[in-house]
Every structure is written in structure tokens, then in C-alpha cells.
């Protein structure tokens, strides 16, 4: 974990604009935004509802295209890639945890965890996936379908799925939004302990200040621009 250096950014965003059309009107969501996130950093994106947090996350992950500006992911300009290329760039290197879990309803818990492995390596490593399920405490539920799991269990499967390929970068979008406080707390603990353990870069979208305070950097999204507050003390995992 000592090899995490902040000099080679994992994400570099430059003069990013995103406007959406509503009828005749154009609404600017992101307005000339620039930022850079280094390897191993934990970053919280904060903002009120509608501030564009999730939009920013989608853009950084290459799930959506900006109106203008450039985004570099792992040193690769996303604009230079097509959908297929962006998917390949993500495969194995980017993990996701969503507010509404987004497990594939047709796959068992184990198969859901195996999925990113298949995308990245082209083969299903069931043993590895099983170890990750064990890691999140769901070994017993490996053969269950998502609908047979509780919300907290589903999110734990999602966390296992996000980390199974040992990605360099994990995006989490309001990961506790659909969970009760205690369950949410357990998911957050899990997320941060894995982040610490694996040295993963973590980009967390939330409006929960307490949660954000556990990250090294906090990016406040206001009127399409970033205002950053930063802990000058050691990041949480080094404390």
C-alpha cells in the first residue's frame, strides 16, 4: 500500500461542462469544472439534491458523455473511445456500488460477484468470487438470487462485486441511501476497510457530511462548480 503515489492522477477532469435540454431551455449542470484525483485517494462528492453529483460520477466513469471538456481516466481520454472502448477501459479496473444495488436479478449472488471477473479476465473464477462473498459475510447465501436477499445483503454482494477484480478505482453512489442506519454503517465500514486494505481509489457521492468526513478530500458541488475542503491531516486509513 505504500506504493500509492499522488503524482499520477487516476482521474483528470478539465473544463467540464454538462448541460441538459428541457424543452427550449438549456440547464447547465456542470459549468467549467476541473479536478484531479490521485491514486489511492478517497474523495467525497458533496452537494444538495440536483447539484449534479451523480452526473459528475457518471461522466467520470464514462457512463455518459459531457457537453464539452475533457475527462481522462487512467491516462486515457474518454472522448477518444467509443462505448465499447470505454467499457473495456472499465473492465476489471473500475468497481461500482449503487444506491439501488443494481444486482443482475437473473444471477445468483455468487454469479453476480463473478460477473466482473468474466468481463475482465474472460473466465469465471468461482473460488475467488466465493472468497469475496466470504469476506462480506455472505458465504451462506452464495446460491441465492437477489430477490431472496435483504437490501443490506444485496449491497454487501454489490460491494464484493465492486472489489472482486481488485480495481484501482471504486465509484460509490449514495451507497447507504436505501439502507437503514445500522446496515448503512456496516456497508460504509466495509467500504472503507477494503479501500484501506487494497489501496483503492474511492470516489463517493453522498450528501451525508459524517460519511464525507471519513474521506481525505471533500468536493462540494455548488452551481456546477467545485469547492474543495481537504483534511491536511493523514487520511483516515492512515490514522
Amino acid at each position: 500500500m505504500g506504493e500509492q503515489k499522488h503524482d499520477q492522477p487516476v482521474i483528470r477532469v478539465d473544463d467540464l461542462n454538462k448541460t441538459v435540454g428541457i424543452g427550449e431551455r438549456r440547464l447547465s449542470i456542470l459549468d467549467g469544472l476541473s479536478l484531479s484525483i490521485g491514486a489511492g485517494e478517497s474523495v467525497a462528492v458533496l452537494g444538495s439534491s440536483g447539484a449534479g453529483k451523480s452526473t459528475l460520477l457518471g461522466l467520470m466513469a464514462g457512463l455518459d458523455a459531457p457537453t464539452s471538456g475533457s475527462i481522462e481516466l487512467f491516462g486515457q481520454q474518454l472522448a477518444d473511445l467509443d462505448e465499447d472502448g470505454r467499457a473495456r477501459l472499465r473492465a476489471g479496473r473500475v468497481g461500482f456500488v449503487f444506491q439501488n444495488f443494481q444486482l443482475l436479478p437473473t444471477l445468483t449472488a455468487l454469479e453476480n460477484v463473478m460477473l466482473p471477473l468474466e468481463m475482465a479476465a474472460g473466465r469465471a473464477d468461482a473460488a475467488l468470487a466465493r472468497r469475496w462473498l466470504e469476506r462480506v459475510g455472505l458465504n451462506e447465501r452464495a446460491g441465492h438470487l437477489p430477490k431472496q436477499l435483504s437490501g443490506g445483503e444485496q449491497q454487501r454482494v454489490a460491494v464484493a462485486r465492486a472489489f472482486v477484480t481488485e480495481p484501482k478505482l471504486v465509484f460509490a453512489d449514495e451507497p447507504t441511501g436505501n439502507l437503514d442506519r445500522a446496515t448503512g454503517q456496516r456497508i460504509i465500514d466495509l467500504l472503507f476497510s477494503l479501500n484501506r486494505e487494497r489501496g483503492t481509489t474511492l470516489v463517493l457521492v453522498t450528501h451525508d457530511l459524517a460519511l464525507a468526513s471519513r474521506c481525505q478530500r471533500r468536493l462540494h458541488l455548488e452551481q456546477g462548480r467545485i469547492r474543495e475542503t481537504r483534511d491536511d491531516v493523514e487520511p483516515e486509513w492512515q490514522r
Binding site: S49, L63, D84, A87, L104, T106, P116
Partner: protein, 832 residues
Amino acid sequence: MIHLLGYSLRALRRDARASDVRALFIALCVAVAATTMIGFFLERVESGLERQAGRLLGGDLVLVKGSDFDADTVGRLEAAGMRLSEQIRSVSMASRDDGFQMVSFKGVDANYPLYGTVIIDRGDGAFDTQGGPPRGSVWVEPRLAQLLGLQLDDELQLGSQRYRVDAWLLSEPDQQLGFEDLSPRVMIQRADLDGSGLLQPGARLTYRLMAAGDAAQLASLDPQLQRWRDQGIRVLDVREDSPSLGRALERAQQYLSLAGLAAVLLAGVAVAMAIRRYVERHLDAAALARCFGMVQRDLVALFVLQLAWLALAATLVGALLGALGQALLVRLLAAFLPLELPAPGLAPLAMGLLTALAVLIGFAGPTLARLRQVSALKVLRRELEPLPVSGWLALGVATLCFGALLWLYSGELLLSLGVLLGGLVLLAALWGATWLALDLLFYTARWLPSTLRIGARQLALRRQASVGQLVAFSVTFAAMAIISLVRGDVISDWQARLPEDAPNQFAINIQPSQLDAFARALDGSGESRSDFFPIVRGRLTMINGVTARQAVPEEAREDGNLSREINLTWREEMPPDNQIISGEWFSLDEGGEPAPISIASDLSERLGIKLGDVLGFDIGGEILDARVTSIREVEWEAFRPNFFVIFPPGELERFGASYITSFYLSAEHQGLLNRLVRDFPSVTLLDIDALLTQLREILAQVSRAVEAILALVLFAGVAVLYAAMIVSHPARAHEGALLRVFGAGDRYLLRVQATEFVLLGAGSGLLGAALAELAAAALYLGWLDLPARLHPLLWLSMPPLGALLIGGIGLLLSRSLRRTAPLESLKLLGEG
């Protein structure tokens, strides 16, 4: 309610961009376009073909009786706007110098023929003409020239008058193939018959009053027909009595209606699929409306009104397309439809609207009812969705509505009920089979590689939707398959009835002493021929000891079979095309008095003769009694010698018989005809090649129409599949996008989706084949009167075709998914 009218229209306009609304619109359009197009086309071609058939009959409506028609009858026909032509037919002796020959003459008027043309030859080549020969002259069949040594412009004595032979009569449009007309034909002006001594009381004359008009004029006479029949007039109606063509036309009509129904069924399937998505999409809006205080009745009215607007729009567009389509079809087929087609009427339009409504109510109604049960609380708690409509209810209502349409189209209640019941049983079986198959798929999927597994699991786990799609697609495939199957079988059945080497020549009047030589002449040339049948002519005079004319039902008293001699034959075996419908074929050792005979079902029906009746035949002045021991169905269309009455051997021989046979003469063997005429001058040869050609032409036209309609149904089927796939697209798009997020490349996505589509398509194809096979068997036996047969090609071709079709459409649709950003395809992220 009034404010809802405007609101519903606005709501529909806002909603028009949704894929399910579009799918609904397209499906309803297809249903209306297909029914109106087939309706318009059928109406026009039907009357066009009837006209063609009318040529064979001589008119659309032909009245026949033994005496002249009174002014009242003529007046009624004229009042209905029909064009009329009167004829007198009979047989008489014609002579020239010392030669005598029995001829059958036909006196025609200036309006003859109502349809078609007469072909004559004045020694300088054949040409078409109309009207009869000039006054004082006759047109005669060329073989009379051989028999009497006649030349053009010679005089022929007929009755007490002499007539100049003006031309050779080569073909008449209303030339009938009947054995009463075996004598050479002579055509004469009707007016010339007066004073010829031929119209004496006691002469066996047939008066024919032929009328031509359009369908409406014909229909206006319907109430009159029975009255005429009651007066002892024989009424030939082109709709029932078109010679030889009746069954073929009827079957073509049935086929086209069937095709129309298939298109409606296809559209119904699409509506059923689209409405599910429509309702699911509107559940939130409905809950919200309930929150804001809309009462249930208004809520239902709102959605019903929206769909009614949609149906109205679809009917207008569909009817327009239907009208254009039929015009196109008629143009396309113009070369094959040398018929003057009447303009389309308005009836199909009403049928179109009715169909749209029935499809909407039947296939969408139960699902729409879900919106009624929406709870306002759903706004707060998403899981509070109303129970999905019971599949059985939806299926039941749809089947009921479809059955009603079937009844409306076919006019046969029993058939419709049978189809309904059979359809429900089949669907239940289908439902169960797909359910089990999906179970199996789910458990076996774990051993598949990941892309295949995801695809297979998606299919297996979205059970409700997949079963619905499998059932819908297999019904679609089955409908398409049935229409293709039936087309092939109908056409090949026609071809089987009229094979290329169907006998086109009849030889009659062959003497027993000539049999061997005649057979050698035919067999030596390698032409196929039927057996030689002996003919003895006799008149049916007594039935069960009572004069036949009194024993038969009143309306049959004028029947020609009572007044003229009919052909009797004897035979040990039953003729190959005949089929016993009651009684038993006599056995040789039966013997006994009176002799057992077999009669044709037509004769028994017309004259009311039953099994066990004793018939007395006057043969050359001697009365021969015989008991009816079997009734046969006779294939008169087979163009082989056929007989009303067959005796066992040993009864008729003593009366002295001549023989008849039929054979096929190919064009290159025409020389044989001349040899036969030369070597057997007393044998009469009848050439029916022209008649056969005419029949074949008509059948070819009908086949063309049938094929055009098949293309239409196939197109409707593909359109429906497309609509159904659009409707189920969002669910697939979501999963596809999710895979994309985790880094699935194009090929991975393609494999996952291809697996699902191919499985869906192949499964539907297989089930569709089973459904089509069963339905086709039922249709053949129950409706089309064709033998049922197994179609192995169907089973082999449908699964791959289904996979190809669904796979193709599915992958085409999912192409957009592979090009768009995942975020657009799914709501992955939270707000903002």
C-alpha cells in the same frame, strides 16, 4: 365526462411518443389494414371470379324450365336491373341429303352471350364474336361436318326448315360438360325456331333465362329465388352452381378469410403485448391521479377514451392503407385478373372498425382493467402495485373476442366454437409446456458459459414475461405457418384435381366390337386413359311403384333427369374417385330381385331417393326394376366418366351398350385424333381441352391472389414480432446497460442478447410448429375439407426460422443499446 374528452385527447397526444402507444397503433393499423384490404380485395375479386364462373354458367343467375318464361319472371329480373338473354335448348334430328344425325341445338337471342365471346371459324381462321348466327343460318360443330359431310354454306335441315351453315362453331362460353349434350352442337337464332316445327308441344325443350348483374342486384333477387324454385323452376346461381369451380372458389374465399383472421390474430397478439407495457407505464400516473382525487370511474373513462381515440385514428389510417393495398394488389395481379373488377364497396370499412374495436377490447381490455385497482398509496410505496391481471382472464377474453370475429367472418357458429375450445385447450397446454421448459432452462443454465448463462437465465427468470412472449410468438409463428401451409395444400390440391395429364378428351359411342381396336390405338400412342364404361340409356319412370314425377318432391318435378334418358352403366368394382356415403357396394353373389344398384348422392338428394327405394327404368320400352343399396359421392370435377346409376354386371348387358372412355391427349399427339376420327367414324370425340384450360387459368389467378395474401400475412407477422420486441425492449436494455457498466464489450453483450433471442425464437418456432400442425389438421378436416397430413418440413424449419427472425429483430433493436451511453438506458444513479 365532457371535460374528459378533451383531456383524453391531449393526454394521448402527449403519450404518442411512447413505444407501446406506437406499437398499439401499428398493431391496430395492421389489423384494420389487413381486414379492409382482404375485404375489399376479396369482394372485388370474388365478384370478378364469379363473373368468370358466370361465363361457364351463361350468367350470374340462370333459370331453367320446360316451358317459356312468363312476363312476370322476366319483369322481375329486369326490374332488378339485370341484363337478360333467353335460350331454348333441345335435341333433334338434323339431316343433309340422306345423312341423319342427332344434334343438340341452342336457340340464342341478340344478347347472347352475357359474358365472354363465341369463337367461330368461317374458313379463314378462328375469331371471337358475339350474338348468334345471322337469321336463317346456323353455326355447327366441326364434327357434324364429318358426320354429315357438310361444307360451309351447305344447307342443313332442322325440323321443317333448312338453314345455311354460316360458320364452324369452335367454342361457346357457356359450353357445359354434361352427358346430356353428347350430340354435336348447333347454334341458331331463337327467332328462327318459330315455324321450324321444333317447338311443338311434346318436344323436350329446355328454356333458359340467363341474367347478369352485380352482387347487389343479384342479392336483391335472393327473396325471389325460393319462390321460383317452388314454381318448379330450376335456379342456377353462380354463387352455388358454378360448374366445377364451385369448390375451388369456395376454398379460395375460405382461405382469404382465414388469412384475414390470421392477420387479426397477429395484431391481437401485438396489442396484448403492447398494452401490458402501456399499463405498467401508467400505473404511477394513475396512482397520482387517484391521489389528486380522481374517482375510479373517471380514471377508467380517461384511459378507455384514450384508447378509443387511438382505435379511431388507427382505423382511419388502416382503412386508407387497406384501400391502397388492395388497389396495389389488383394492379399487381392485373395480368392474371383479366376481369373487369367492380369498385370496392363500403362494407369492408365497417368491418375494419369493428375489427379494431374487437381486437382492442378482447386483447387489451382485461389488462387495462388493472389500472382500476391502482391504490393512491402506491405513490408512497412503490411495491403496492395492483395484482397483475390473471393470464387466464386475459386469455379467456381474447379468445372469446377472437371467436366472435371468427363467427362474424366465417358465419359458422359451430366451427367458431370448436376453434375457440380447441384454441383454449391448446393455449393451456402451451402455457404449461413453456412454464416447464423455462424451469428446465433455469436449472440447466448453471452449466452454460457465462454469456449463454446470463441470456438463458434472463429468459428463464423473467418467467411471466417470457411465457407471455413464448406463447405470443408461437401463436404468431403458427398463424404464419398455417397460412403458408394451407396455401401450399390448397394449391396442390387444385393441381391434383386438375393434373397436367387430366383427361382432355372423351370418346363416346364406342361399339363393343370396336373396343379392342380402340384400346390398342390409344395404348399404342402411350396416352393415359380411363377404363371403358358401358352405357345403356334409360329413363327413370317409377319410384317405389309410383310414377317418378309424382313420387319426387314438388320442386324436383321439372328435374331434367326425369324427362330425359340418363346414362346407366354396370361395373363390378366401385369407380376409383367415388366414395360410399351410405349403404354398401353390392357384392357379386348378392343377386336377388330386384337388382341392387348404386346411385350418386346428387341424384338421391335432388329427387329424394333413399336407400331401399325401388326404381323403375324404362330401357327401350322395357321396365327394369332395381333397388338402391348404396349411395355414392361422385367426384364430378375429376373429368372422368361418372354415372348417376351403376348396376352390377349381368343386368344391363342384354339391352346392348355402347362404351365411353376418357383420355389425355398431349399437344404433340394431336395426329392421333385425326387417326381416330378416320378409323372409327362412328365414335364421337369430345374435346374438353379448352374448358380445362379455362379452369386452370382461373385457378392460377386464384392461386396468385392466395399468394399475395400470404405475403401480406407474413408481413403482418413480422410487423407484430417487431412491435412486440419494441415493447419488451426496455427490460432488456436495462440489463444490457448494467453489463456495460461492468465493462462488457460489444461482443459480450451481443452474445448475451443473441442467446436470449435465439432461445426465444427457436422455442417459439418449435411450439409454433406444434400449434400449426394441430390447427392445420383441425382446419383441413373441419373447414377446408382436405385430408389432414403431417408436415415434417414445418418441424425442421420453424425453430431455425424463429431463431433467425427473433434474433434478427432483437439484435437490430439492441444495436442502439450498444451505441448509446449506459446512463441513458437505465436510471443507475441517484438524483442530480
